[in-house]
Symmetry: none
Subunit: 140 residues, 4 copies
Amino acid sequence: MMTVTRLDAADAETLIAGAEAHATRIGVPMCIAITDESGQLIAFRRMDGGKVTSATIAIDKAFTAAAARKATHEYGTASQPGAPAYGIASALGGRLMVVGGGLPVIVDGEVVGGIGVSSGTPDQDRAVAQAGIDTFGAGG
Amino acid sequence: MMTVTRLDAADAETLIAGAEAHATRIGVPMCIAITDESGQLIAFRRMDGGKVTSATIAIDKAFTAAAARKATHEYGTASQPGAPAYGIASALGGRLMVVGGGLPVIVDGEVVGGIGVSSGTPDQDRAVAQAGIDTFGAGG
Amino acid sequence: MMTVTRLDAADAETLIAGAEAHATRIGVPMCIAITDESGQLIAFRRMDGGKVTSATIAIDKAFTAAAARKATHEYGTASQPGAPAYGIASALGGRLMVVGGGLPVIVDGEVVGGIGVSSGTPDQDRAVAQAGIDTFGAGG
Amino acid sequence: MMTVTRLDAADAETLIAGAEAHATRIGVPMCIAITDESGQLIAFRRMDGGKVTSATIAIDKAFTAAAARKATHEYGTASQPGAPAYGIASALGGRLMVVGGGLPVIVDGEVVGGIGVSSGTPDQDRAVAQAGIDTFGAGG
């Protein structure tokens, strides 16, 4: 038997609040998703003006980061033509995201969930996801 | 050109809060989803203990109620064997939900969004969705 | 080698116009789809107020009626519990529609296309689809 | 609550007519799709000789341009190997199109819908989509 540590609903709200604050600061309304360590959705928010396509993309970025335990921008590098994970982007019916904006949430060296952000540039998405993690790490 | 009125992010949070309060009252942790009038996700919350399968089911109930402008339990009645909409449950890749727990959110006679709830019995799900609407109707 | 007779784009517009006129007459804004004899989409119209969920359902009704060469309400009868085609509604990823509103378009005893209608009751959908065929049969 | 402006059915026909006129001018029968601002289909036409595969591609181009508020050829540039959105093409089950021919329809600085064209080269598709927008902008 094993014991798993994962984000709870309150943690998810803290992560979203931190991300949303940064999205507001940079003036880009975002879709923000939080999953548990298995990649299953805990919470989601589309800010007013967030893109419709970005709802699913944010969820899939969080899913990928948590369940594959890797930031989506790292998959971006690893899946370039000629690189070892080339072609992985279409895995899982296209759910495995290789565009920046998905980060694993790590506590005591263990992945306990994921955060995915979409609607801006990949760099903006990643910065907003990181802001969520920073807020969470700081105890909310 | 036409003009459409829909829920915004703050409305969605009010609906979720109202639903969650009732779910807590009856002691059933729920998945709660809010969509706009086109069925696109605005907000989602899985309470601690909500079922993993219920995340997608709640989202699809909200989608169905909003985009088809009909409570999902009404589809349940209309799609019984021998009834006119028999077989509709497998439409849209199975996203069209005919199990109770999805309600359109109606303002001034117009559907402006949907709420979908899942993890309890269909009656519990429906009562929790209704509680969200009641809270929203009361102005949060 | 074989030769196939199918609807062209002008035929599709005639069918849609006839269906839309009847939908307007009964006051139910509809989604109306026309496919060729292989079930491939030729034309689609969502009238102002037609349901979002009904876009795909109308297309799938036309697809089913044309490609399976059978009115969707006939599948409704044939797929009741205990009937020979029970369970067929979930075939093809749920695209095989067994709810009324899909009719094959038949010329000289041959299926040359399909019309699918959705947004009203199945009886209304079917009547609107039939009106399209009547207009087409009368030469537009 | 928020208010959204979107294309209606008459606007969609104007857009299709403008696109079809240009397609006829260059001698390439096209599939032409129009969606509302949420990416939901309003109208579709496959001209005689339009490709079967292009029906879905045109619909997905219009969906992408409207719901992600970006021309599909811009995604083409942004998703090249080494570019920030590399890998985005397989998102949303492959519905997110990065091939030219999808354009957002913008009125008063707001995206009110999308037009997607497919069957020619991406440059031809894009020119035909632009012709639809030009006709619409000129008031049909």
